[in-house]
Amino acid sequence: MVEDSKGDNLEFKWGKKKGFGGKKKEVTFYESFTYDGVDYTLYDSVYLYKDDEPEPFIGKLIKIWENGDKSRKVKILWFFRPCEILNFLEGYETLDNELFMACGEGLGLSNINHLEAIAGKCNVVCFSKDGRNPHPLDEELQNADFVCYCFFDVGRHKILDKTDDKIAGIEVKNIFNNLDSQKLGGLLRLDLDGKDVSAKVTTNNEAVALSSEKNNQLLIDKLDGKRYDTGDSKPSFGEKCTSSLGLKDANKSNDGLNSISRDKTLPLAKEKENGVCKALAKQKSSTKLSHSSRDGLEMTGNSKTGGNAFCLAKIDSEDTVGVPDRQINKRLVEGKASEKEKYGVSSANKTNDVHNRRNYDNAKISNTRPNVSMDNTFLKSKIDLEKGGRDIVGVPDRHFNKQLMEGKASEKEKYGVSNAMITNDVQNRRKHDNDVKEVPSKKLKTDTMSTKHSADKFRKESSTASPNVEHRLDYRVMEVTQRPDIDRSKWFKPMPWEERMRNAHEQGKLVLLENLDPSLTSSEVQDIIWLGFKESCTVMVIQKTAESSPHSGQAFVIFKRKEAAESVIRKLEEGCFLMSNGRPLVGSFGLPCFPEKKPIFYGHHVNDHLRLQTQREMKDAVSTSHCSQPNNIEYDMAVEWCLLQERADKSWRRLYQRQGEELRKLKAKLNVKI
């Protein structure tokens, strides 16, 4: 856990070996590894980031190995987001967080990636009705970042609810919710953690020493291996703070949290918290942290106030742990300036306050850990602390140690994890000189990433919410830039546009936009839609012909959902979305025209009597194309057509000229020129 200030060397450690392979046995296969403080085991679901992709890919680790040249690789079986296989859903209603597991044979099933591409763990719960799938518990569902009901056959492009015994050579039982292996993973992790502890503690101490601060840390180890480290102390922030779901919940409930940054994720770790340092420090104001990670960042910045500024939901030293199935560790520490605290929680880190001279008992910590991790079922616990309390409140089924040191009234701290309330005495004179700077750069990086990520999430949410929640329209002039999320369904050849349009039309997702600048391309229109409505969509600009209007370009737009299409049309109807050159966008439900089976075409005559004969001749003829010579009836007729064409041309020209005139007059009245 030594942080590299450059941030390049993320912690990495191999776990259990599985075997060797390759011609010269130079390839080593593993079952688990630790990367960036997170333990990964085979068949875990993980996020993978790609630089230019706003949203991470999600996949399952199905093979982990190290090559002879020390390059670390993982084989990933992919999950698909519904938006990636939009064209093949065929009316299948997807949930917001639904994923499809790849199966079958073909492109997009699995890939080999650099291990370093892994960005965090993801909790995907499989709900397949397949008998081989252990049925997930309700609570797992609640904690799941994503759910998976069906498979997507990458070869046949079909959604399936059953699959063969093997996917990509892996037994499906490994791929389904793998309860046993989870436990195994947990234990393994413990071992690993154990090794780490001492190192960690050391680091912590150092850090503490550096920052002459008090740290109170709460470490919470979740049974499932999540650790939460709540502490008001800065050093602990940067270095190891774990955020757990519980914490997240806690945030929502507006309880005061100091800072939680997560450094370890458990096997089931939620993606949202992956790699996220959450620093929730509530300053006296009880700010709602809806987006914990983002806020967390700010908080870290603000965390100067650190432990002082915790909102105490309860000032009396009572802590309620309100997150049901989470274990919550609470620590209340009251004491003098010379406080001593011992926090032994699973991966327990102890923070030493330099001033306070806290003692950390490493051994104790390491002992406690296993217990904690074993015990899943911590429910709410209440801990009453008397102010000035001098007791150690031990809740039996908790395996954590609490120590309250009596002390002077000058400082009182209570650290509650989860709903944790931390009471600070006003008289508390701690100084927290946490600077963001002190946070190791690596973490910073993670922070940024997580923020970005959560921002994405947010966006996603907001777009989902749009049908119900009216967007606040932004009235500022916006410059069209490329929208962040480009549909990533490039793995499969798209269906012919015509078919997609037909489907979309039947499902009410097709919108016709008018009054676009005719020179806009489809991707630009997509960007505009994104800018104006925060909806992603597929656009097909209508190609110009000789007869189409030079003033107004049209485009067919396929939205992902019917509601999105409806809301866009409504907004365009009620409001005015003005684009460059004074063009307000016009939208309506598209009524596409599909080619008929037997299109009528005027002007080519076939003599009925000659038809039989002609057909035979036509078959033999190489080409019926020719220039007409001015000595036959065909030429005369052709000239009549030419005349008609010329007249039509002229009428178009005059029509467009008049329309242009009208538009110009009206546009002159516009004040804003954009």
């Binding site: 500022r476 009054n515 005015c576 979305f577 460059s580 063009r583 025209c593 005559h605 080409s623």
Partner: protein, 198 residues
């Protein structure tokens, strides 16, 4: 995705090499176009412009990429001079130079900045924009109507020509008839006319 100047320049070159055909019968396929233009030049690429907006019985349009801009000129001159029949008579096809907006795969114009904004209701522009929207709709309706009118005219001309053809056919049939059953010869002899013997 980054619009690059070179890419766009290459595209513009392609536009110059391309000729746009309309008034094509629905029976015209890529191979028909290729063979038809064989006599003038080599055809690099043929792309039909789909008609998504209707009316559905509009003639087809196609973009045909040729070797060079010079060939485009030649083809256009030829087809402009004589009515050019493709896969049917007597309605000729028309050739024009292609423009960038006709291509569906055109790259984004580099360095163009689009701006847009929502107008507030109390903005004086709001009303104007509203009128503009209505005008746009009106124009679209006008265009649709114009298409209809033109189709009707085409139908009328086609019907009229069909009638003419039928009459011509009847006439030729009649002539053929009297020639084959020797009525013409008999009559010629009767009136002392010289009729060329077949």
């Amino acid at each position: 995705m980054e619009p690059s100047a070179e890419e766009y320049a290459a595209f513009e070159e392609k536009v110059k090499r391309t000729v746009y055909f309309d008034n094509l019968s629905p029976q015209v396929t890529e191979s028909v176009i290729r063979t038809a233009l064989d006599q003038f030049t080599a055809v690099k690429n043929v792309k039909f412009i789909p008609n998504y907006l209707g009316p559905s019985n509009l003639p087809q349009c196609a973009l045909v990429e040729l070797d060079s801009a010079k060939k485009v000129k030649e083809v256009r001159a030829m087809i402009g001079q004589y009515p050019f029949m493709m896969s049917g008579m007597p309605r000729p096809v028309r050739a024009r130079p292609a423009v960038a907006e006709m291509f569906d795969d055109r790259p984004v114009k580099p360095k163009r900045k689009m701006k847009c904004c929502w107008l507030e209701k109390n903005d004086p522009d709001f009303e104007v924009a509203r009128e503009l929207k209505n005008l746009t709709r009106k124009h679209a309706a006008e265009i649709a109507f114009m298409h209809k009118v033109h189709l009707k005219e085409e139908e009328k001309l086609a019907a009229q020509q069909a009638e003419t053809l039928k009459v011509h056919y009847k006439k030729f049939k009649l002539i053929e008839g009297i020639m084959t059953d020797r009525t013409a010869l008999t009559l010629a002899r009767k009136y002392n006319l010289a009729v060329a013997d077949e």
